[in-house]
Amino acid sequence: MKPAPFLYFAPNSLDEALLLLAQYGDEGKVLAGGQSLIPTMNFRLAQPAVLIDLNLIAELFYVRAQADGPLHIGAMTRQRTLERDPLIAAHAPLLQATMPHIAHPQIRNRGTIGGSLAHADPAAELPAVALALNAQLRLRSQHNERWVAARDFYRGLFTTALAADEMLVEIALPSLPPRTGWSIQEMARRHGDYAIVGVAATLTLDEQGRCTQATLALLSVGEGPVQAQQAIKLLQGELPTPALLAAAAATTAQIDIDPTADIHASVAFRRHLAQVLTRKALTEAFERAKR
């Protein structure tokens, strides 16, 4: 389990890193926390010729909040920081609550938000949470910059909108409207394992208690994070009664997702879990929204 030979660069600035990326394009890979990349290299499943280490680029590590504006998070911000930073707790409690579900403290000490979002593992929590929070992602290459919505970023199994010379540099999370509740629910075999199924949800109520906006994103049920489109439609404009939430959960499980079987779960079990967890997530989000 030793990686194949590679060239290693550890630039100090984003510009340098982008220059290297422009130069090495397809053969190069950026190294963030290394918690997914290094194991794949040790298994020789990935054999990048060049590694561009982002860990010395101070300008990629930050969490910033503007009054009423979005929360900005540098791509290299460690998952452990997201768990502990009071700005995250205040502005994106769903993100904070997600962290303990991701692996173990040792891994979160290294793993980054950008690394997880860019890696696009369908079983990862952060891509689904990015969908649920309507995240905007800032992508940069040597000469260009663009913003892509999380929902447009994911393109299939381990694939994203990132071009070979592009890097994810920042995540922006719009602030939650008033009367918004949220929830993350998942089922993993052991604490810290990738989930068999997970659900992230937000629910926004108007003054009459009707649902004005809902987000519902699932993990481990498709080739990437999956939005439960039909279920969201069911909720829009309605009073979130237990019956409605149950119907939304059933719609999620039966219509919105197309899970596959693997050694841990059959399709039927995944649909069952999706239903159970979606109902729990919507119920909890609703309870929080009412407060």
Binding site: M1, K2, P3, A4, P5, F43, R44, M187, R189, R190, H191, G192, D193, Y194, I196, I263, H264, A265, S266, A268, F269, H272, L273, V276
Partner: protein, 781 residues
């Protein structure tokens, strides 16, 4: 026997070294000029090798040598048969052993084909990637129930079929009593096991010193002496020219016994050929294929009972997965056969098994070593019988326990040590009572469970019993020496893998010599220190080596008393050994330090009496007539979440009888660790092979080991029934914790899911499998 040392929860002598990272493990051995080894292994479970092209790999700078089977010449030989079959009538046995490197054919994924020696492991692995093997894939034998089909692919062509062994053992006459039974219950059971997943993988450093013509080998083996003997013979060296050191080992559990693994056989040969030290450390990926495992059995079992729940007999037919080769003989399957009857007085038993070859890694003993499979079948049959007869599950067990007056109890079949399966001693009812008290059985069943169920909580209880054959022969030996400093050194031949040998053996010695446990220094696992012995396996370390050490210590004690009685002018009976001195009882100042006495016995000038032996030292050996049978009862309470099918263990208790206890703290650690592995087996771990024999979960991402938060703290109690088979009265304890967990888990989960009316006839389980089991009857209706 509880005294100052023996029977006390004394802290472990080895822990300071282990906990501060000072202990030597094989990978800590760094020698000047050392080369590193990697293997190219088969990607196919079953294939012909048409050709191997190593030229591109050879050209890589830093590659020193590459060998295929053809390069080994005469050294290429199948490994030894480690355990011959027992003397059972009409037994069929077709041994086929692993080879150092595959020649012409591969028989399981991960089988080594080429060995690469390079200046670093990185380079060696780069080279492995540049070796091209032209395979002709063959259909694989994966499902054991299809292995004997007439059209099954044949794994060892000289055999014409895949039968490794066929064994029938009988007690009484099952066929004759079957008609008298009021109730017959027949079921099909599947019991699959996983890999030991020791924290430390295997590793070897071999160093041929040409000037001294001496080979030193550091090896993660549980049995250094047999390895030394075998390697010396293979290499044409004298046993005195080979030193095998098994340093600290991060877990053995069976697969590290004395396999003569290809790597073990090749590294010394390479070192001699290249005249340089070589190192190979198994990585975790390799461990999933290249280290032996346990795996599945399929049982078709029938139990015959009277109306009041007395077991008249058991009839069991089973298939056992041997893997691609079977160097360890029939041990695992025999253990299943010989452990099934457990604590029960069963007059009639018919047990027939077929061991079959499959295109999967080799199966050899792993903690419990087949006993689990047998215990599962018996305990589940009793559970089903209890339900059918309307008898409480504890009561049906109690009615069938072997009563204390029937010991020694003869099961009339042959055990893995070739001796008749005779339980030496046992007292089962008190352990059962203690278990009922610890788990608060009556209260739980009558009050707690109904109350929690009314709240919608799916809680269930399990309670099972088991026996463990332990402490088998042939023998071990030990040398005990009192040094002139007063320190005591003890050398024995077995290896150690974390069990606490440094402490329990010191306790045995301290008991005889009256010295502090910390003053006893043990050397195990170094063939230069002790020449004779077998190894650590089959829960035999404490029993066999412990009694050998005891015997040697007793001899040293006699030497002390003899000489001190002369020097102190007192009768031997009036002397006592206390605090590192020998002194006259009632007159503590009339004393000699043991170190001083040792010095007197090793004079540098003058004359000694004719026949005098120098020093205070003795060597002795111990070999039991046959194994000692330990026993126990485990119980637990679980809660099942009906929405996710997650199982939470609320309480776990174990009552254990391993005869006289040397160190209760270490014993509890052994049981706790065994239970953890048992829980892994029951609910987390499973090696999943596809129809081509590919292992689908060969990493810790998908092969789930139980973690600290999934394993409860086991509450324990003990019963002490002496073994009459050894002077210390002890029985082994190493495997006990792991054995009964499968049926326990099944019973408790079934109880929790009582409303769903399921029968759990298989292990391992998982949330997904429980979901399927619960749905099956619903879909059927």
């Amino acid at each position: 026997m509880t005294t100052r040392y023996f029977g006390q929860p004394i802290k472990r002598n080895e822990d300071p070294r282990l906990l501060t990272g000072q202990a030597l493990f094989t990978d800590d051995v760094h020698l000047p000029n050392m080369l590193h080894v990697a293997f190219l292994r088969s990607d196919y479970a079953h294939a012909h090798i048409r050709s191997i092209n190593v030229s591109a790999a050879q050209a890589i700078p830093g590659v020193v040598a590459i060998y295929t089977a053809d390069d080994l010449g005469d050294y290429w030989r199948p490994g030894p048969l480690l355990v011959p079959p027992p003397p059972v009538k009409d037994l069929i046995f077709n041994p086929r052993m692993q080879v150092p490197l595959a020649k012409n054919k591969v028989r399981h994924v991960g089988e080594p084909i080429v060995v690469i020696v390079a200046e670093s492991r990185y380079i060696a692995e780069d080279a492995a990637q540049q070796i091209f093997v032209d395979f002709e894939p063959l259909p694989a034998v994966v499902d054991i129930e299809k292995a004997l089909a007439p059209d099954a692919p044949v794994i060892h062509p000289d055999l014409a079929h895949n039968l490794n062994a066929h064994v029938i053992q009988r007690k009484g006459d099952y066929a004759a009593i079957r008609d008298q039974a009021a109730v017959l219950i027949k079921r099909r059971f599947l019991y699959d096991r996983g890999t030991a997943a020791a924290m430390e993988n295997r590793g070897i450093v071999a160093d041929w010193d040409a000037k001294n013509e001496q080979l030193t080998m550091w090896d993660t083996t549980q049995a250094p002496i047999p390895i030394r003997n075998g390697i010396a013979a293979m290499l044409g060296l004298s046993e005195r020219q080979v030193r095998v050191v098994a340093p600290f080992i991060g877990g053995g559990f069976g697969p590290k016994i004395m396999m003569f693994y290809p790597e073990e056989v090749l590294l010394p040969w390479i070192s001699m050929r290249l005249n340089r030290p070589v190192k190979w450390i198994e990585d975790r990926s390799e461990n999933f294929y290249a280290t032996t495992q346990e795996r599945g059995q399929v049982h078709e079992a029938e139990i015959a009972l009277t109306r009041d729940g007395r077991v008249l007999g058991i009839h069991d037919l089973f298939l056992h997965d041997a893997g691609a080769y079977a160097p360890y003989g029939l041990t695992v399957a025999l253990n299943s056969q010989c452990t099934l009857l457990g604590q029960y007085d069963v007059p009639h038993y018919y047990s027939e098994f077929k061991a079959v070859f499959t295109n999967k890694p080799i199966v050899t003993p792993y903690r419990g070593a087949g006993r689990q499979h047998g215990v599962f079948v018996m305990e589940r049959l009793l559970d089903i019988a209890a339900k059918e007869l309307g008898i409480d599950r504890v009561e049906i067990r109690r009615r069938n326990l072997i009563p204390p007056e029937k010991f020694p109890y003869n099961n009339e079949i042959i055990y893995q040590d070739f001796a008749p399966l005779i339980y030496d001693s046992g007292n089962y009812a008190p352990a059962l009572d203690k278990a009922l008290a610890l788990i608060d059985y009556t209260n739980f069943i009558q009050t707690e469970q109904p109350r929690l169920r009314a709240e919608g909580k799916l809680v269930g209880l399990g309670l099972v019993t088991y026996v463990e054959g332990t402490g088998i022969g042939p023998y071990e030996g030990a040398k005990v020496t009192i040094e002139t400093s007063g320190r005591v050194s003890v050398a024995t031949g077995i290896g150690t893998q974390g069990q606490g040998h440094y402490t329990v053996f010191a306790q045995v010695v301290a008991e005889q010599l009256g010295v502090n446990v910390e003053n006893v220094r043990l050397v195990t696992g170094d063939t230069a220190e002790f020449y004779w012995g077998a190894g650590t396996f089959a829960s035999r370390g404490a029993v066999v080596a412990g009694n050998a050490i005891h015997a040697a210590a007793v001899k040293v004690r006699q030497k002390i008393l003899k000489r001190a009685s002369e020097d102190l002018e007192a009768a031997e009976e009036d002397l006592e050994l206390v605090d590192g001195t020998v002194r006259v009882k009632g007159s503590p100042s009339t004393a000699i330090k043991l170190g001083e006495l040792a010095a007197r016995l090793n004079p540098l000038r003058g004359a000694v009496k004719p026949g005098a032996e120098p020093g205070l030292e003795a060597t002795d050996y111990f070999g039991p007539e046959r194994g000692a049978t330990a026993s126990g009862v485990h119980a637990m309470i679980v809660e099942v979440d009906p929405e996710t099918m997650q199982v939470e263990i609320k309480k776990y208790i174990a009552v254990h009888d391993c005869g006289v206890v040397i160190n209760p703290m270490i014993l509890e650690g052994q049981i706790q660790g065994g239970v953890a592995q048992g829980i892994g087996n029951a609910f987390y771990e499973q090696l999943i092979f596809d129809e081509n024999g590919q292992l689908l979960n060969a990493s810790f991402m998908d092969y789930l080991l139980p973690t600290a938060d999934t394993v409860p703290r086991v509450e324990m109690d003990h019963v002490e029934t002496r073994s009459p088979l050894n002077p210390l009265g002890i029985k082994g304890a190493g495997e006990a914790g792991a054995i009964p967990v499968g049926p326990l888990f099944a019973q408790a989960v079934e109880d929790a899911l009582i409303g769903y009316n399921i029968e759990i006839l298989e292990i391992p389980l998982s949330p997904n499998r429980l979901f399927e089991l619960v749905l099956e009857p619903q879909q059927g209706s």
